[in-house]
Amino acid sequence: MSSLMSGSQILLESLAREGVEMIFGYPGGVTLPIYDVLYDHPIRHVLVRHEENASFAAEGYARATGRVGVCMATSGPGATNLTTGLVDALMDSIPIVAITGQVPEHLIGRDAFQEADTFGITRAATKHNYLVKQIDEIPQVIHEAFHIAGAGRPGPVLVDITKNVLQGKTGYHPAAVLRPLRGFHVRLDPDDEEIEAALQFLWASERPYIYAGGGVISSAASDELREFAELLEAPLAHTVMGLGALPSNHPNFISMLGMHGSYAANMGITETDALIGLGVRFDDRVTGRLDAFAPKARVLHVDIDPAEINKNRRADLGIVGDVKQVLQKLNNRLRETKESLGTHNRQKRAVWRARIEGWKREHPFAEVYDDNEIKPQYLMKKLDEASGGEAIVSVDVGQHQMWAAQYIRFNRPRLWVNSGGLGAMGFGLPAAMGAQFGNPGKLVMAVVGDGGFMMSLPELATISSHKLPVKIIVMNNGWLGMVRQWQELFYNGRYSEVAMDAFPNCELLAAAFGIRGRSVDNPAELETGLAEALAEPGPFLLNVNVTREENVYPMVPAGGAVNEMILGPPKPVAVGD
């Protein structure tokens, strides 16, 4: 008979058994029993300065390490503050587990102090959630929560635990086996029949095109993806979630596709006859107007979530499975048949590659430089040089995010951290913290806009307190730049409520938090400022004042066809056929 343990002790023991090393959290009334155990527990707790940033940090940790991120908050406002990060993780399929305290069971439904219906509120914000009212359930529920968060299509799971359970005592019996989850099935491996159908599909194609997203990173299928692209000799575009799965300098890589994607990627998708979607969800920012998206293509769609097949674009062949396993089988067959079936359209595919190369040369992402002011694109080029394809780059949401996606290259997956689906401002800095905690020795840059930076300002305290060596690069144009861009292009230049004036003095701000900082205004200063930031062993806040009114191009206007890109100022130009 094991000795009695409190619910809080059992909780932390269960987390430790799941391999949790770190929790991003913020304490409060009902989680006091947990924090009392944490006081001298080996699991490390990082005290953030706002619960929303706990969920973003857990996401950054998960995105950069591939492990399940954990965050924790108290009942009521603590739990509601976590919610944005949960929805963000849901949209981008990021595995995190959130622990929240709930008021004691006898007070539930009595409008108790700091009571909120966390279970109800987070129903639509999570892959699954739990309300724990029995102490004996804790080990099983935690075990299940980690399983559900990580298995199949990853996502956030929330466990809400009442205070009386956290305080109660019982014998601890670790959850050795998962209790059967009758409604949770994950199909990983495809049938041979499906693989053969896919093989026919691929070798029959004259203009194949690979469209690869975050699912490739979730399933750790980078090697398989590279081999697949090489065997098929097909161009490959990434979604904003997929960047890094194929190294950016790979010859088959044609950059990002979609609203701010490359000319080659968007022209290619318009002309392809065989679209191969791998771990993607045909998001509207990728497809633009759906009926003009890949209009000449038959579609092969591979995803682990059956609900993604046929959701936005009908698949001619849909395979439900883990991208890695599907590609492994497919690559074997491609290799075996390359000199037989693979020879049929070889000539046509060579012509196709030449067309793609032509588009790449015709309109690469523009080289933009000015002697006197820092162009945002130039800033990203400098950051790309500083990174050398190896730094973790955690971005916020907006213009800088798109420029970073266009100009910064990645040699491997899990270096690019961004809020892709939800587009949650305030994500970049706390996510960079999580990424840095998960990768202590690595260069982590938080590349954020001035708007998003102001949303995550309090985390400078967390960064300072841990001497976390994050390099914070603020691309400061004094606006909510992306909203301003839309107001310029689609609302007659009426700049309504987008000026981010009264930005704090960067040196003073940094100094106030006990870290180093500097502001730069021209390319020469950027050079030295960046060098100074990178040489600094601790955190550094580099405020980069860039050209105020610069737009992200190419741009597919919302609801437009992807080949109808606005390539640059001053006038919209429709291209393509």
């Binding site: 129903r123 049938d191 059956p306 609900a307 001619d316």
Partner: protein
């Protein structure tokens, strides 16, 4: 378009909320919903009738997104199947003494039973397909004021399998278009 969905769910708090959430997030109104536990008390059976936007081809996606829920063990779209569908109604009708024999005769045609009788009213219980209930209610309006409560539809697929889960699994395999490999 009315979609008829039958589900086997974990008999747990929150299961109903999760299923309803998939529908309400789209702004769909649930026309009727019945839930009760099955012979296996850890499982509940739900029958949902919901008005879906058929122009958006949402029916298939809806089923798949419901199936994705961890608490949903099986789900099957019975809209176009030969499922047995039944509904129960309790109908209270005001009736004058001279019309009572005529009402009882008509109730008999519909196999409605009197479950309560007062000096000025009868309460009838009737089961059947929705249209049958509509017809009876329409007739009863001729006698006087009518008050009515309906259970909403419950549906059972026509599978030879007696085991609930097996029957569901079979039905859902039939309707599951994802697993079909398209021949090229």
């Amino acid at each position: 378009m009315q979609q008829l969905i039958s589900l086997l769910v974990e008999n747990k708090p929150g299961a109903l909320m999760r299923v309803a959430g998939v529908l309400t997030s789209r702004g769909y109104n649930i026309d009727s919903l019945t839930v009760a536990k099955t012979l296996d008390p850890t499982l509940s059976n739900m029958t949902i009738v919901v008005n879906v936007e058929s122009s958006t081809h949402d029916e298939e996606l809806l089923i798949k997104q419901i199936k994705r829920l961890v608490d949903v063990v099986e789900v099957v779209d019975l809209t176009d199947s030969q499922a047995v569908t039944r509904e129960l109604a309790l109908i209270k009708v005001k009736v004058s003494p001279d019309m009572r024999p005529a009402l009882l005769k008509e109730a008999d045609i519909f196999r409605a039973r009197v479950v309560d009788a007062a000096s000025t009213s009868y309460t009838l219980e009737v089961t059947g397909a929705g249209e049958k209930l509509d017809a009876l209610i329409g007739l009863l309006h001729n006698y006087g004021e009518v008050e009515m409560i309906r259970s909403g539809a419950m549906a059972m697929g026509r599978s030879p399998k007696v085991d609930h889960r097996e029957a569901f699994a079979e039905a859902s395999r039939v309707s599951d278009k994802v697993r079909e490999t398209v021949k090229i």
